[in-house]
Structures are given as C-alpha cells and as structure tokens.
Amino acid sequence: MIDIWLVLGIVATLMVWSFFFYKNTVIFRIIQELITAIILANVVVVALQNINKFALTPVMQGNLILIVPMILGTATYLQLSKKGRYYSQLPVALVLGIGIGIAVQGALSTDIASQVVATMLPIGGNIVDSVNNVIFILCTLLTIMYFMFSGRMRTGVPSKFSTAGRYIVLWTIGAIFGVVAYSRFALLIGRLQYILQALGLIP
C-alpha cells in the first residue's frame, strides 16, 4: 500500500530542489507559493485558537477583565483609519513597554552579571586550561576595545588593539558562517535520508 503522504513529501522535496539542482522553473514557483500558503494558513488557525484559548474562553467563564486587552488588541486595527491612527499607538506602546520591562528585569543578571563572572577565569594550574583562559580573556578584551576605540581613537596604541579586536570579530563571523553552512548540510542529509528510507534503500 502506497503511503500518499510519503509520496507527497518526496515530490515536494524534489520540487524545492529543482531550483538548486536545475534552475528557477514553474515547478519551483508552485511549491514556493504552496509552502507560503500552508504556513500562512497554519499561522491564522493557530492565532484564532490562541484568541479563543486566552481571551474568549476566560471571558465566557466570567473573567471579564480580559475584555480590556481584547479591546486594546482590536484597537491596533485603527491603524487602517486616518482618524483613529493615533489611538492605535496606545496598544503598541503598552505591549512594547511591558515587553521591555519584563526583558530588562531578567537581563541584568542573566545577560550581564553572569557573563562578566564567567569571563573571570583562573590562570594557573592546568597548562592547557590556562592557555585557553588567557586566549578567552584576551579575545574578550580586544573585542571590547574594538567597539570602544573604533570611533574616536583611531591612532596610536589603542588603534592597534582595536585592529586586533576587529580581526577577532571577523574570525568569529567566519566561524559562524562555517557552522551555518554545516547546518544546511544536515538539512540536505535529513531530506536525502527521508527519500532513501522511503525508497527502502537505507534502514
């Protein structure tokens, strides 16, 4: 018995790959539009489910205070009217304000204090760890210097440190590009496994 979903999966994969292995054809454009449509449909359905889950159901159960955020949410559509555009900024400002407030609350200890503490590494003892830690601390300091001294202090000794920091940033960006490419290979392998397993060529 042929699994129709498996066949559809293989056909869709090959349609997407037609762009990379051949060229941009109508086959690729069809699957491109189809994927966009499916994703959009899923987003709309999930958004409606969320409105039901977090707003309508609790209101029906008597949690009437939730009518306020519902009105505010609806007010964002006032953006479409010239007269009401000003009022549409209120819910946006509220969401941004709450979002920033919540983010800042946790960010100080999570993103700053913990990272600073983690940079205070010991030097001495195991030679390999010590060398690693020295490299780590040097890279951190030079990168900070690049961002601090790249604007005004472009001459003299600070500029040398700043240049070194720039190279460290460039190496890091290179490494990030490398792992992004590796990540894409994993996707290619995953799809090929899917096809080969469906065809019974691999277990």
Binding site: F21, A103, S114, Y182, L187, L192, L196
Partner: protein
C-alpha cells in the same frame, strides 16, 4: 603557466549546480555505504545526557519547541532520541512553543516518533500545550502562573489533565529542554526560569545557533547541549537510543570535507585571478 592559471580561475568560478550535484551524489553513496568513521563524544553532550540520566523517576520535563519546520531535519532526530530516553526513564513530558506557530505539530511528531503515543497515556504522562503567543511575556507568565494556559493544543482544559492540573509555577518543573534553531526563546527561559527559579536548562540546538548560545554554556547557565546533527549522533551513541543522526554521521563528515575542498578551490581561483589582474 597561463593555461594552468585558466584552469584555476575556471574552477574558482565553477557552476554552483555542479557543486550541489557532487555533494548530493557523495551524500547518497555514503548514506547507502557508510564507512564507520570514529565518533568522539564531547563534554556538552555528556553533560546533557547526565542531566537527564540523574533526574529522579517521574520528573516533569518541559520541552520548548522553538524551531520552524525547516530546521526539523537537523533537530528532529535529536528530539526523538531525547523523547525515547525520557519515556524509558518514566518521566513526564510537556511540550510548548512560545515562538513558532507550528510548535504543536512538531511536538506531535516528537510524541509519535519517540513512542509516547503508543506506550504512554495522554494527559497522565504527556501533554502538548501547543503554541503560546506573547514571546518573552509568555515565558514570563508560564514561569509564574503555569495555569494561565488554560487549554492544551487539543482544546482540553489543563485542569482536567492529571499531569498539568497541579503544576503551579516553574518550581513544579524539574527540567527544561529547549529545541531551537534561530530563536531567542533560550534567552527568555534563562531570564525568567533559570535565574529566578534555578531551573535546570539544557538545549538541542541547530549548528548555526551554537555560537549564539555557547556563552551561556560557558557561564554554566545552560548545563549541556546537543549541537546539531553531530551532537545528536553523540547523544544517540551515548544513550543507546539510535536514530537517523548516527546513520548520517559519515555523510556529514564527507560533506564537510568536500565543502572545505570547494572553499579552497574558490579561494585559489580568486587569488590567481587577483594576481593576474594586478600583473
């Protein structure tokens, strides 16, 4: 000399489709005939494995799925292997997504592929909360008042499900596993679960995201992680729950080798052309 130069320049400007074909063919051959290259298990994977292994039986685990379907081929097999280990240990699993709307569908795949739907009972052993909007605000609320998500992904009230009805806040969850590709959800959990509640936090990350989260691993906020398909293969090897990652390891190593070869060729071509134009 000029003939040689011409070859290098041509190789440097090789049609990308030839590169794709070569890579696809190499991958297919290696997938069908693996060569059995050695595998070294790294520290992040060992710590990831030990974190799960040392949990008391029946612990409640929250799996955050913040990856879109496009990265699932890389992360899915790892998530399945983790799911199998949790099931075998007798742990409870709750899935949620705070960033991508397809989280509920991907969670369903985890439950099906790792055997939860066959061997465990929905509502008692596992629950799919689906997608929760609000991003960081959602994560913040989830930590303080778990019951604000009043229904699961299938519209069943949480108060009716034995697993979720007694969960009040982050203190009732023993471990968080974040499966993510290019999202900020891990940082949100660190801010609102790990820092205030000392929650244990481990990650299954796409290779492309390792650099972004490495700082949190170095600082100890993330206990361990599985980095891409290679990390997944290491986990499958360590835990014994074999899956697609370990089967793909040889192919991945060969692809990396070819990729480096093509990068070297392109750079040689570029340098030769650069020298020629200067002359």
């Amino acid at each position: 000399m000029s003939k040689n130069t011409g070859i290098w320049v041509k190789l440097g400007k090789l049609d990308r489709r030839i590169i794709y074909w070569v890579m696809a063919i190499v991958t297919i051959v290696i997938l069908i005939h693996p060569v059995g290259l050695p595998l070294v298990v790294t520290q992040p994977t060992i710590k990831f494995y030990n974190t799960i292994k040392t949990m008391p039986k029946g612990s409640v685990v929250l799996m955050e799925i913040s990856t879109t379907a496009y990265a699932w081929d890389e992360l899915g097999p790892s998530a399945y292997a983790v799911g199998k280990m949790l099931l075998a240990q007798g742990d409870k699993l709750i899935t949620v997504g705070v960033q991508v709307p397809e989280a509920a569908l991907l969670a369903q795949l985890v439950f099906e592929k790792s055997g939860w739907t066959q061997k465990a009972t929905y509502g008692v052993d596992y629950v799919n909360l689906g997608y929760i909007g609000g991003g960081e605000t959602g994560v913040f609320n989830l930590a303080r008042n778990f019951q604000f998500v009043n229904k699961d992904a299938y519209n069943k009230p949480l108060s009716d499900l034995p697993l979720t009805r007694d969960i009040k806040d982050a203190n009732d969850i023993q471990l968080i596993i974040d499966v993510h590709s290019a999202s900020s959800a891990d940082i949100w959990y660190l801010r609102h679960w790990v820092t205030p509640y000392n929650s244990k936090f481990i990650e299954v990350v796409a290779s492309a995201t390792i650099n972004a989260m490495a700082q949190y691993y170095a600082s100890g906020q993330v206990i361990g992680y599985l980095g891409g398909a290679k990390g997944g293969a290491e986990f499958e090897y360590t835990s014994g729950y074999l899956g697609n990652n370990i089967k793909a390891l040889d192919a991945q190593s060969f692809l990396h080798f070819f990729f480096l070869g093509f990068v070297a060729l392109a750079n040689i071509g570029l340098l030769v052309e650069w020298r020629r134009t200067r002359q």
